[in-house]
């Protein structure tokens, strides 16, 4: 991998020599992973994976992409040839372009040498400790599946035919557990997950506490009556909801008319207390990106400000089509080395403490949502299953599950009143405890 920069330069030279524009992302990850299940080491893995994603654009804007996991000069050059060959089958579009964003400061905030240097044995011991703690936390925890710990070192290289070369190095530690609480014929599932830049920031005790609490509190749950309820979402549940907003906020979907937010720029789309920001350089987030995978430098910006829609998530293409500036929201991964619009750290600004939010006269506290991925980003309609606990006068009084929550994302945003400061990072978004008033709940 030491000569990756020169392979990138060579491949871009090849594309340029044929009168084309192009860009390349080379991403590789070295990881160590251990997983325990019911007292046994389920897997101990050491491996490296990598991929190159190439995009080529003809002078009249025809574009094609290719990818390969063979990161040798020969493998990458073959992928370049394949992309060049296929440009003739797509159609002209002058909005297809590459970045000219030259200024770049290499930042390795998300790199922790001690995490990188952890050996497989240390990773295994942490996974084992996680499992043991979960089992001993409550006697009703009868099954532990996938008590997992992973550390990873990721290298990202970007280059294009405008002569840009940007790179980044980052580490991550991640831990998760899923378990089952059983009492008689009754059973309930619990899960928690944490991702961080460094193993030092992974709090195993908290992961255990959250997952056990979720499983145990799900025992003896019932289906409540249908009606309209105020909903308090847990950080885990609200991050799932927040994740569904990425698709309708994507500039590409807005341009194509496939978003319920398409004509709403500058309009009020959420409760006035709501501000949604994209913050990819926030040093406290587990993933940080100073440039996106089109080479655009990232920046912090408000997507929704005091309830008003201020902008969309753009790549170069969607920005051109909508007369905006690229926002640095085009991201790739080893699994998908050709970028698409996404986020790094999207979250609402907190306006209340978790304790205060939970202190409501009556609400459903939702800890898990099933089927959030089935929400329709075009109409914004969703109908999902929820489970959690009923709150009355600030106290949990009973558990419920097997109920449905239905409505529109527009309604969720408008009825979202309070956002807590207890952020939970899930993938590319961070959720927190939130109060959403008056939503439709199906039950008995």
């Amino acid at each position: 991998m030491t000569n990756i920069k020169s392979i990138i330069e060579k491949s871009m030279k090849e594309i340029k020599s044929k009168g084309l524009k192009g860009q390349i992302n080379v991403i590789s990850t070295e990881s160590k992973n251990a997983s325990f299940s019911n007292g046994k080491l389920e897997q101990l893995t050491e491996g490296e994976k990598g991929a190159a994603g190439i995009k080529v654009i003809s002078p009249d804007g025809r574009t094609a992409t290719s990818s390969s996991n063979i990161l040798t000069e020969e493998g990458i050059m073959q992928a370049v040839e394949k992309a060049i060959e296929m440009t003739k089958y797509t159609e002209k579009d002058e909005a297809n372009d590459i970045s000219n964003d030259e200024q770049f400061t290499y930042i390795d905030w998300a790199f922790d040498a001690d995490t990188k240097d952890m050996n497989l044995d240390e990773v295994m011991k942490l996974a084992q400790e996680l499992e043991k703690k979960a089992k001993s936390e409550d006697e009703r925890i009868k099954f532990v599946r996938g008590a997992e710990y992973e550390i990873a070192l990721t290298r990202k290289h970007f280059g294009n035919t405008n002569g840009l070369y940007k790179n980044a190095l980052s580490t991550n530690a991640a831990s998760s557990i899923s378990l089952a609480a059983i009492e008689g014929e009754d059973s309930s599932f619990g899960f928690d997950y944490q991702l961080s830049q460094s193993y030092r920031l992974i709090d195993i005790d908290r992961i255990v506490k959250n997952s056990v609490e979720m499983a145990v509190s799900g025992l003896k749950s019932e289906v409540l009556s249908s009606g309209r309820y105020d909903i308090v979402m847990s950080p885990f549940a609200s991050s799932m909801f927040l994740g569904t907003l990425i698709t309708p906020l994507s500039g590409e979907n807005v341009y194509k008319g496939k978003s319920f937010l398409k004509d709403k720029l500058g309009e009020k789309v959420a409760n006035s207390s709501v501000t949604l920001i994209h913050d990819p350089m926030n040093g406290s987030a587990p993933i940080i990106a100073s440039f996106d995978n089109e080479g655009t430098n990232t920046s912090r910006f408000n997507v929704i400000e005091n309830g008003v829609l201020k902008g969309f998530l753009h790549n170069i293409y969607s920005a051109k089509k909508l007369g905006a500036k690229p926002t640095g929201n085009s991201f790739a991964s080893v699994e998908s080395p050709n970028p698409s619009i996404g986020t790094i750290n999207l979250h609402f600004i907190a306006n209340k403490t978790r304790k205060d939010i939970l202190n409501v006269p009556k609400a459903l506290y939702v800890t898990n949502i099933m089927g959030m991925h089935t929400a329709d980003p075009v109409s914004g309609r969703f109908s999902v299953q929820i489970s959690g606990r009923l709150i009355e006068n600030g106290a949990f009084v009973k558990s419920f599950r097997g109920m449905t929550l239905a409505g529109t994302l527009e309604e969720l945003l408008n009825n979202l009143e309070y956002v807590g400061s207890d952020f939970k990072y899930l993938g590319s978004v961070a959720g927190s405890t939130m109060l959403i008033k008056d939503l439709s709940v199906g039950g008995r």
């Binding site: 897997q43 101990l44 992928a79 378990l179 999902v384 097997g402 449905t404 239905a406 409505g407 199906g442």
Partner: protein, 470 residues
């Protein structure tokens, strides 16, 4: 990865030289093309290729694993050495397994194909996309946006294991999908989606298949435009055989995967017990000809089979990989699958279905005074511990006095797998398939599922409740 048998033997024996009961080399060579028509033009074309290999060493119930994207003899020996070292620390043994001979497994052909995807030009593939676009353009004037996607991929795998077996298999995955957006008079947008797939060659992309995908997407979007908000509450639900088998996949299938049974699934300790209506027989079939979940061998080299999960309401057994089969003291069922060489095999479904019964589908609808008819299901999810499931309804209608009436939108169905299986009281004599990519533990696997028309007397429908606060 064309190494000699002597080299494979050397790698396997080296990986086992400090302990371990089983070792396996898994090699994969993958390529695929995707073409997307969107926004009025052929917008995206992508070609991807992946090659690599991994080795795992298993002792008792524990596994150590390593992979490389450059599977030369030297690199595989280096992986074997990494595994040997870890095996030495974890399961050192005086009783070392030694592999002496390797033998090619018999050829099986449940997914025959005529035209390999790399024998077809990109131009011919683009033509298939355009064919669907043309059909959709003229289908309904309310259609505003058309997305048609073509995808093909070919995955050649080779498994060499310490049982002395060499297995080679090719899986070809064609996929075709249409997503359309239509607008009502008030400017509201609605989505229609339809797709099809298989395990076969380029011959899959027939005009007939393309026409059916286009027609289904149009009918679905029209039902959405003309629909009313779904009611919320408990109703009798009829699932059409056209609905696809999302319910059998989500509500039952996952809970009968042996690794999830070991993690506390609601179906644990129920083999031999009556868990469903006598009208219900469920199988998971890896040999159903050319279906998307069909495999000649699974990713552990086990020959696939038709596995009976429930027979006339009685739970007969679970789906197994080699590891879970050993834990349960049974034979593996050929359900060990992996997304790529970079991950370990886990228990996955193949083609899962409720077998047809004796009721006439028309009689099933006629029997409902007021309820919901689900013609197409959307995606779903299950909590295998409790058996609770959720799935979306892409196309649904109200049934009133035995007749299909008003279409509904924004519906989902939630329930509990065990309770639903027990309660199904009518099973049609028809059978319809759906295709998809199932996600589990972060890995995707091509699957299909099928069911006849069935009646569920009571199921919660997630729709809209109007009125004041509860």
């Amino acid at each position: 990865m064309n190494l000699s048998n002597a080299q494979y033997l050397e790698i396997l024996n080296h990986s086992l030289s400090s302990g371990g009961e089983y070792s396996e080399i898994f090699y994969e060579d993958f390529y695929g093309t995707s073409i997307v028509y969107d926004n009025g033009k052929i917008e995206k074309i992508n070609f991807s290729s992946t090659k690599g290999a991994s080795i795992r060493v298993v002792s008792a119930e524990e596994t150590i694993f390593a992979h490389t994207n450059d599977p030369t003899y030297e690199n595989l020996m280096s992986l074997a050495e990494t595994l040997r070292k870890n095996a030495s620390e974890r399961f050192g043994s005086n009783n070392i397994v030694k592999v002496k001979e390797l033998k090619e497994a018999e050829k099986r052909d449940f997914a025959p194909f005529e035209i390999p995807f790399d024998n077809v030009s990109v131009e011919q593939k683009v033509e298939k996309v355009i064919k669907g676009v043309e059909l959709l353009k003229n289908a309904d004037k309310r259609i505003k946006q058309i997305t048609v996607s073509y995808a093909d991929s070919s995955r050649k795998v080779k498994i060499v294991n310490s049982e002395g077996k060499i297995v080679e298999d090719i899986r070809n995955y064609p996929r075709y999908a249409a997503i359309i957006f239509a607008q009502d008079e008030e400017g509201n947008l609605f989505r229609g989606y339809s797709s099809d797939g298989a395990n076969m060659g380029f011959e899959f992309f027939t005009d007939e298949m393309i026409e059916k995908v286009a027609k289904d997407a149009v009918r679905q979007v029209v039902s959405q435009i003309e629909g009313v908000d779904a009611p919320a509450g408990e109703f009798t639900v009829v699932l059409s055989s056209e609905a696809g088998g999302t319910m059998i996949h989500e509500a039952c299938g996952h809970g009968m995967e042996a690794d999830l049974v070991l993690s506390g699934s609601v179906y644990r300790e129920k083999v031999g017990k009556k868990i469903a209506s006598q009208k219900i027989t469920v199988v998971d079939d890896g040999t159903d000809k050319n279906k998307r979940g069909t495999l000649n061998y699974d990713d552990e080299g086990t020959p696939t089979q038709r596995t009976v999960l429930i027979e006339k309401g009685v739970l007969k057994g679970y789906m197994h990989s080699k590891i879970t089969a050993k834990k349960f003291g049974v034979e593996p069922t050929g359900n060990g699958r992996r997304e790529s060489y970079m991950v370990l095999p886990i228990v996955r479904m193949r083609n899962t279905m409720i077998l047809p019964g004796e009721d006439d589908p028309k009689d099933i609808i006629k029997s409902v005074k007021y309820g919901i008819f689900v013609r197409k299901m959307g995606g779903g999810q299950v909590d295998v511990i409790s058996g609770d499931f959720q799935f979306g309804v892409d196309e649904g209608y109200i049934i009133e006095n035995g007749e299909i009436k008003q279409s509904i939108r924004g519906a989902s169905l939630v329930g509990n797998g065990l309770k639903v299986l027990e309660s199904i009281d009518m099973v049609g004599n028809d059978l319809g398939y759906g295709v998809g990519t199932c996600g589990k533990d972060g890995q995707g696997a091509p699957v299909s599922d099928a069911q006849p028309t069935i009646r569920i007397p009571k199921l919660i429908v997630g729709g809209i409740v109007k009125g004041g606060n509860n």
